[in-house]
């Protein structure tokens, strides 16, 4: 999937200001936005999803213009067809696991029909959630919450999946196990994804192309080939970028 991103956003608040000036183009099935916290990578992700309106610039994904300030194009989040896995999973606490997963397939008055119910059943089965269908999010473990959030994001068949630091809410032993689990789940889905992380190993595990952020700017953008030319693994290059 082709990503062309060129956005500017100024945020002021609490006496501090932050300027995001992200510019990159990449072609990859799996794109990783890498950088320390507060470098603007998560902000770029929310702009991609349509949850944040940039002050200027253009966002084009897979040939589709999602945002273009000069042409006054700004597709609302609900029309972007983008699945979003939030850092804290953002499960609806008042809805059961089944209703969380079905959320994107139902409306104010529209209940899920036969087709939608089958889709929800399929996702619950694929993510091993059948026995938890009636549970509320507060009764789930961290790993279960993540699977519910992923199933919910995938239910409306998005064309792109965004993952915002998917393991930061978990403790370290669980993180390693879930990383492998998520990797194998995603491998079976064949959906393009953008992942935000500050962990070089995690970046290498999921990514094909890597965008490095620092203080609101993109400092580097490379793939496995470029890393190999320098005789290094992507994780090593990313770790070096972090050390600078």
């Amino acid at each position: 999937m082709q990503f062309e991103i060129e956005i500017e956003k100024r945020l002021d608040g609490g006496g501090r200001s932050f300027a995001l000036q992200a510019r990159f183009a990449a072609e990859a099935r799996a794109l990783v936005l890498f950088g320390p916290s507060g470098s603007g990578k998560s902000l770029t992700l929310t702009a991609l999803a349509g949850l944040l309106t940039p002050d200027a610039g253009r966002i084009c994904v897979g040939g589709r213009v999602l945002f273009d300030a000069s042409a006054r194009v700004n597709l609302p989040a609900r029309q972007r067809g983008v699945g979003y896995l939030f850092q804290d999973y953002a499960l609806f606490p008042h809805l059961s696991v089944r209703k969380n997963v079905a959320f994107g397939l139902s409306g104010i008055l529209r209940r899920p029909g036969r087709e939608e119910t089958a889709r929800v059943d399929e996702l619950l089965a694929r993510f091993g959630l059948e026995n938890l269908a009636g549970s509320l999010p507060r009764d789930l473990s961290g790993g279960q919450k993540q699977r519910v959030a992923l199933a919910r994001a995938l239910a409306p068949r998005p064309s792109l999946l965004l993952l915002d630091e998917p393991f930061s809410a978990l403790d370290i032993p669980l993180r390693t196990r879930l990383r492998a689990e998520l990797k194998s789940l995603l491998a079976g889905l064949a959906i393009p994804l953008v992942l935000v992380t500050h962990d070089p190993e995690e970046a290498e595990l999921f990514g094909q192309a890597f965008v490095v952020y620092d203080h609101g700017k993109v400092t580097r953008c490379f793939g496995f080939d470029e890393a190999a030319k320098e005789g290094k693994r992507p994780a090593e290059l990313l770790a070096e970028a972090f050390a600078d």
Binding site: T46, A49, G50, L51, P76, A77, R78, Q79, R80, V82, G83, Y84, F86, D88, A90, F92, P93, H94, F103, G104, G107, I108, L136, R138, R152, A153, A155, P156
Partner: protein, 222 residues
């Protein structure tokens, strides 16, 4: 003292306070949602104006209502011309007075409850394809429901005890607009201690029942 002199104020109080609470609930939640989304300047001023009935003496609110809805008031004249009705010295006027006085209690708690929902969950709903109306009805409102209910119960209690604004707008007409709080005042003024005592007992009992039921409704579910 006749049974009617107890029963009428009691049913009038229940009728007026329930209708006023329902109106305050709808208006309070609608205004809270509106102010939360308000991005133009003047938001804080609007917020203050909507809270005004909570801080102003009820007689002042009653006077405002007379100025607006009275015989020469802008809305009063319009109501008379278009519908041929006047709210002054009617029980509907008492509902109006109680609604205005109870409104800020719903409005304030609804604002706090809606703000407490945060940005993440509505954003999650948006990425799942929900329209702004669906975000509000399927996410914000259910999550804010407890806070809104708590404010609504306070509004009901406030409406049941309403005295000042009701007296100004609807008067104290026995058998027509007299609510319990007005009847207690009249009974004490007339030296009718027995009626006053029964009225006081009746309103206390009703309030305990209402508050107990309310506490059950407001219990957290998740």
């Amino acid at each position: 003292m006749t049974p009617e002199s107890i029963l009428f104020p009691l049913t009038m109080t229940l009728r007026v306070s329930l209708l006023a609470t329902a109106a305050a609930l709808v208006l309070g939640v609608a205004m809270a949602a509106l102010v939360e989304r308000w991005t133009l300047p003047g938001r804080d001023a609007l917020d203050s104006v909507l809270t005004l009935p909570l801080v102003l003496p009820p007689t002042v609110m009653g006077y405002y209502l007379l100025v607006v809805f009275g015989r020469r008031g802008v809305v009063g004249v319009w109501l008379k011309e278009v519908f041929g009705v006047s709210l002054i010295f009617t029980w509907q006027g008492a509902v109006l007075a109680a609604t205005v006085v109870a409104f800020p209690l719903v409005y304030r708690s609804a604002r706090a409850a809606l703000e407490g929902v945060g940005r993440n969950l509505p954003d999650a709903a948006r990425t799942l394809g929900a329209s702004e109306a669906a975000v509000f009805l399927r996410v914000c409102l259910p999550l804010a429901a407890r806070g809104i209910m708590a404010g609504t119960m306070l509004a009901l209690a406030r409406a049941m005890g309403e005295f000042g604004a009701t007296l100004m707008v609807a008067g104290n007409l026995p058998g027509k607009t007299q609510t319990l709080s007005l009847a207690v005042y009249s009974a004490v003024q007339a030296g009718d201690d027995k009626t006053a005592l029964i009225l006081v007992g009746a309103i206390s009992l009703v309030c305990v029942v209402v508050l107990t039921v309310a506490a059950k409704l407001v219990k957290p579910k998740y």
